[in-house]
């Protein structure tokens, strides 16, 4: 779509910016990357009353154009980068009418950049209810820009806002807010002259932010640095005096235009809720109850749609194999691509549920209370209050949990959370654990109540939490933080969740996951399919020839013969050959080449282990039947020693490997997507594999 004008939405967090964006653009939105930077860019299109189309750009919520995080640095970059043509034709500044003082700081900064601005005075219903009287006409007159009172939640004033956007001026009309020239007069004048900038505030911002601006060349940035030294410019001191000047302007403005009720009503509803939700005792009880609920919901609610999706893909696979002639192409489609696709799609219900619940917690304002309560504990191990939710979500699946770490503003805290979340025992490990535990742990009760198998499983889950905390603690000392650690966070008032936003988040995140992680998963499953389906030289032809002899075709049923051939071919496939190659490496862990194949093939996803075991031990009938796999594995003996393969030591060694190794293509893909740097997933893969190897080695030799 071609847009006639570009409109950027700018505002503080919690001002209803995203709600307004959703109302203006509907389902007409997409997420991309800002050119040259690694932050998501949300854009959409909106039909204006005069028939033109506006491109709406949703910029990250920020308290000022001095950035505190990478996300926030985008705001100024977009507004200042004239060369790339990213500068919008119009900026809509969204102000929370019930909290004007702090909100106006950002407005005054944006206004001084002299890009055409209009003000959307959001939550006007809330401020009216609180008895705040705003003289909107005088307010608009003093600022020099159109001011539209709206309520994004109640969808009021939106048409008027659209009309105002349509008839907005092409040149900036806003009044000056502060005298920029007095802050650093000589420096600003020189930057303006050298870089041909007519706006003094833009020049001042270049002095402040030149180090983080992508559109400046290193030479340009160095030149600005030089000028700063020459004029003895101190960035923080300049910012401090600027902020004070801006608040002076704001206080004068509000004195003339806003009447607040005299009585300070401190006992607001929010305050009453906070007394319970952040209570010393009840606060934690409620928090853990909510976490238990999320945990349960992810497991139980997703079970039905997940099995439905699986069934759908199985049907699709059988439909293809029935209707199309057998051959490598059909095998690639059904065993490679569709199998891979089903591995992606099956996670969608869990992702949707987790994100719906998380966005409800965010939307209501509860999430910031969790951060508030947990900050002290989490800080001790190098995490943040907000890390609690991804870690708990990790019990279901690391993929949506890692996506949810975007709520963590601090770079170091977020990276540590991303790095340790895959250690938490996810649902894909469950089939592996249950199979191996059932194989070696006797079904006996200890102290009457505890079942030994249940205890073993609980131990694996506890191990996962402990390991995540320990690794986080270690990483706290390894990672070098670029930012100084601080914690200054708004506690927004409690509000009802906006169900439309919840639905948007669910849809958005699921879509992103399917398209982004999906590409990688399909690629990996195609590679695995090729490795399993082809062997070096003429090995496969020789197997076919050998088993076509009458001594096999006469004595065995066609079904079981097929299984034996499949197992024989697997051993001689590239995957099988590779299994033999890595055998010396995995032998110290107690694994043979067959387990080696399973380890390789379950790189894509851990649950593949059971299926691979089924193929390797040529199970009769359904490959998903656990009992049959278990029986075969139970009977498996080492051809050299004649002793059983799966001893207690081997089974626990394997479980350790699955507990620590990052065998999940989706997680690798999502970590790459979230960090946009392949070194993070590489480092994660390396440390987790090293951890898995040593844990397996120790456990095997202790139990042997």
């Amino acid at each position: 779509m071609k847009a006639d004008i570009r409109v950027a939405l700018v505002g503080n967090p919690n001002t209803g910016k995203s709600t307004l964006f959703n109302i203006l653009t509907g389902l007409n939105q997409k997420i991309g990357n800002f050119p040259g930077v690694t932050v998501d860019k949300k854009t959409g299109f909106c039909q204006l009353p005069d028939g033109r189309t506006a491109e709406i750009i949703d910029l990250p919520g920020t308290y000022s154009i001095y950035p505190k995080s990478k996300d926030e640095s985008i705001v100024f970059s977009v507004l200042a980068d004239k060369a790339k043509g990213m500068v919008p034709d119009l900026i809509v500044v969204i102000l929370d009418a019930s909290n004007l003082k702090r909100n106006l700081l950002l407005y005054t900064q944006i206004a001084d950049l002299k890009i055409p601005v209009i003000v959307a005075l959001n939550m006007i219903d809330v401020s009216e209810k609180a008895g705040i009287i705003i003289d909107i006409n005088l307010f608009a007159q003093k600022l020099g820009v159109p001011v539209v009172p709206i309520s994004a939640r109640k969808i009021k004033g939106i048409d008027q806002l659209k009309t105002t956007i349509a008839y907005a001026n092409k040149i900036a009309l806003q009044q000056d807010t502060i005298d920029v020239d007095t802050i650093a007069p000589k420096l600003v004048a020189q930057i303006q002259a050298e870089y041909k900038i007519d706006n003094p505030y833009l020049a001042l911002q270049l002095a402040h932010q030149h180090e983080t601006l992508g559109f400046l060349t290193p030479a340009e940035s160095d030149r600005i640095e030089e000028l700063e030294k020459e004029h003895a410019f101190h960035s923080q001191k300049a910012q401090a005096s600027e902020t004070i000047a801006r608040y002076n302007f704001i206080n004068d403005l509000l004195y003339d235009t806003v009447k607040k009720p005299e009585t300070a009503h401190d006992e607001t509803v929010s305050n009453k809720i906070d007394k319970i939700l952040t209570h010393k005792v009840f606060g934690f009880i409620i928090f853990f109850a909510i976490l238990m609920f999320i945990f349960q919901a992810i497991f139980s609610w997703s079970a039905y749609p997940m099995s439905l999706i699986e069934q759908l893909f199985i049907k699709l696979q059988s439909l293809i194999s029935k209707t199309m002639p057998a051959g490598p192409l059909v095998s690639l489609i059904s065993d490679g691509i569709i199998a891979g696709l089903s591995g992606v799609m099956v996670f969608v219900p869990q992702i949707a549920i987790l994100f719906a619940l998380i966005s409800i917690l965010e939307d209501t304002g509860y999430m910031s209370r969790v951060t508030f309560m947990m900050d002290k504990v989490m800080r001790k191990v190098g995490l943040n209050g907000k890390s609690v939710v991804p870690l708990i979500g990790g019990f279901a699946c690391a993929v949506p949990s890692i996506m949810s770490t975007r709520n963590i503003e601090n770079w170091k805290d977020r990276m540590i959370t991303i790095m340790v979340t895959p250690l938490v025992a996810c649902s894909a490990r469950l089939p592996v654990y249950t199979l191996l535990i059932a194989l070696v742990v006797p079904d006996r009760n200890v102290w009457w109540v505890f079942n030994m198998r249940g205890l073993a499983l609980t131990a694996m889950y506890l191990l996962s939490i402990v390991s995540a905390i320990v690794v986080a603690f270690v990483m706290k000392f390894i990672l070098k933080s670029r930012e100084r650690g601080y914690f200054i966070m708004e506690l927004p008032v409690y509000r009802m969740p906006r169900w439309k936003n919840v639905a948007f988040t669910m849809y958005d995140r699921s879509k992103t996951f399917v398209f982004q992680a999906g590409k990688v998963i399909i690629a990996v499953s195609i590679i695995l399919w090729v490795l399993k389906s082809y062997g070096p030289g003429d090995r496969f032809a020789q197997i076919d020839k050998a088993f076509s002899q009458p001594k096999y075709t006469k004595t065995m049923t066609p079904d079981s013969l097929e299984k034996v051939i499949a197992s024989e071919k697997l051993e001689n496939s590239y995957a099988g050959v590779f299994g033999h190659v890595i055998e010396p490496v995995i032998k110290p862990l107690g694994f043979d080449w067959k387990i080696g194949i399973a380890l390789i093939s379950s790189f894509a996803a851990r649950e593949v282990f059971v299926g691979t075991m089924a193929t390797i031990y040529s199970v009769e009938g359904d490959a998903d039947k656990m009992e049959s796999v278990q029986q075969k594995m139970h009977g498996a003996t080492n051809p050299d020693t004649g002793k059983p393969v799966f001893t207690l030591a081997v089974a626990f060694s394997l479980m350790m490997f699955y507990a620590f190794a990052m065998q999940c293509a989706s997680t690798v893909a999502v970590v790459f997507r979230e960090t946009k740097d392949w070194r993070w997933p590489a480092a994660q893969f390396a440390y987790m594999t090293a951890l898995a190897y040593s844990a397996s080695f120790i456990v095997y030799h202790l139990l042997k």
């Binding site: 505190k68 019930s98 003082k101 002290k376 966070m489």
Partner: protein, 71 residues
Amino acid sequence: MRLSQLEVGETGIVKEFTDLEMSVKLMEMGCLPGEEIKISRIAPLGDPIAIHVSGYQLSLRKFEASTIILQ
């Protein structure tokens, strides 16, 4: 007196800051000289704290609060 020395429910007026970097961040959030601050609550484990300032609720760690000098 520092902001971190106030008890829940007590108020004070900001005079100055001891840490320039922190002051820039706090002032952006509305903690300015002359502004009245009230301690709303303390987190269950004793840190961080929540304050009422310029019409809304802000949470900050005790360390950050100790950089704010009151009148």
